[in-house]
């Protein structure tokens, strides 16, 4: 289970980007590739633990799952083999290990409120 390390990595990334900017983080959006080795459910769970007592406390985690896309040399195009995991072009059946998408483990963006004091007022 390295999802906790990953969750801490997300907290670090966003905290660094925030710097001293005042406000409350509402949501963090990340991309998780099918080949990233990260299990979304486990990550949701660990994110709650990792954000406790940080500026991200209470923020939700939105996970965009990125399917594997390969370069098919026959079609000369990037194609997405449908699940389950495969490296065979769905158009022409050519097998290709040239992975173009699916390894992502990126923080895409975060949503934050810079006027939290107004809440419940």
């Amino acid at each position: 289970m390295h999802e906790l390390s990953i969750a801490h990595g997300i907290v670090d990334t966003v905290s660094t980007a925030l710097g001293d900017t005042p406000g409350v983080v509402r949501d963090v959006s990340i991309a998780v590739g099918a080949l990233s080795g990260v299990v979304p459910d486990a990550l949701h769970f660990c994110f709650e633990i990792a954000t406790a007592d940080t500026r991200l406390s209470g923020a939700t985690l939105s996970i965009e799952q990125v399917p594997v896309a390969i370069w098919c040399p026959t079609c000369a195009a990037v194609v997405e083999p449908p699940p389950p995991l495969s490296f065979r072009c769905p158009v022409c059946n050519t097998v290709s290990g040239d992975v173009r998408r699916g390894r992502e483990l990126d923080v895409l963006s975060y949503t934050f409120d810079d006027e939290p004091a107004l809440e419940g007022a």
Partner: protein, 225 residues
């Protein structure tokens, strides 16, 4: 006001940067670094020990780092080869990270090494996300683990540069199906080279040593050119 701030930053950026720095340091020092990953019990330590012995016999200068959750046993076994070995105790962490490699190289003259081997923590999931600055990532699979294991752990097989099947001396007893294993490996990583070995019998060792020498020469040519 609610704002959305775009970041597009790798979650493991810190590790990736450290790994990149390690990789260029190794390249400059002329050290070829190999990261060995497998389940617990696949035979990493045994295979590495025989590798260290054989490379030393060929006159190469070798060293090893070995990750373990709690014990120093593997370091002691590897040290029997005569090579310098350091244990990295992860105290429960299920993988090695680039920072740990950097820390444990302290005091070693990298210029005086030809090969550095890293035995990762026994785990097929977590190590796959962490670049250690290696030049070659090797995933090992023993004949006793079942031919379909690559399909269950696609990330590590997909990110590896080489697959090594271990304990081939037990293949017949396990009714191991080499074709099925090849198909399974290639279903998650088309074209991945595979070596068939037994550390006990020495099977496949000469091929492995040759591959190491060739790959090391190739990186040195690139570095020099």
């Amino acid at each position: 006001m609610t704002r959305i701030v775009e970041l597009r930053a790798g979650v493991l950026k810190k590790n990736d940067e450290l790994a990149r720095a390690l990789r260029s340091r190794m390249q400059q020092a002329g050290v070829f670094t190999v990261n060995l990953v497998s389940s617990p019990g696949t035979g990493k330590t045994e295979f590495l020990k025989q590798t260290l012995i054989a490379l030393r016999e060929q006159g190469y200068r070798v060293a090893a780092l070995v990750g373990d959750l709690e014990t120093e046993n593997d370091a002691n076994r590897l040290a029997e080869s005569g090579a310098p070995v350091r244990q990295i105790l992860t105290h429960g962490l299920c993988h090695l990270e680039a920072a740990m490699i950097g820390d444990h190289l302290e005091g070693w003259a990298l210029d005086a090494l030809d090969f550095l081997f890293i035995e990762n923590v026994g785990n097929l999931v977590c190590p796959s996300s962490y670049d250690l600055g290696e030049a070659l990532r090797v995933v090992l699979l023993s004949v006793t683990e079942g031919e379909d294991k690559p399909r269950k752990y696609p990330t590590i097989f997909n990110s590896a540069d080489l697959a090594i099947v271990t304990k081939m001396d037990l293949a017949a007893a396990c009714e191991f199906d080499a074709d099925a294993a090849t198909a399974s490996i290639h279903s998650v990583r088309p074209g991945l080279p595979i070596l068939w070995t037994s550390a006990r019998r020495g099977t496949g060792m000469s091929e492995w040593l040759e591959l190491l020498a060739t790959r090391r020469d190739a990186t040195r040519t690139v570095a020099a050119g």
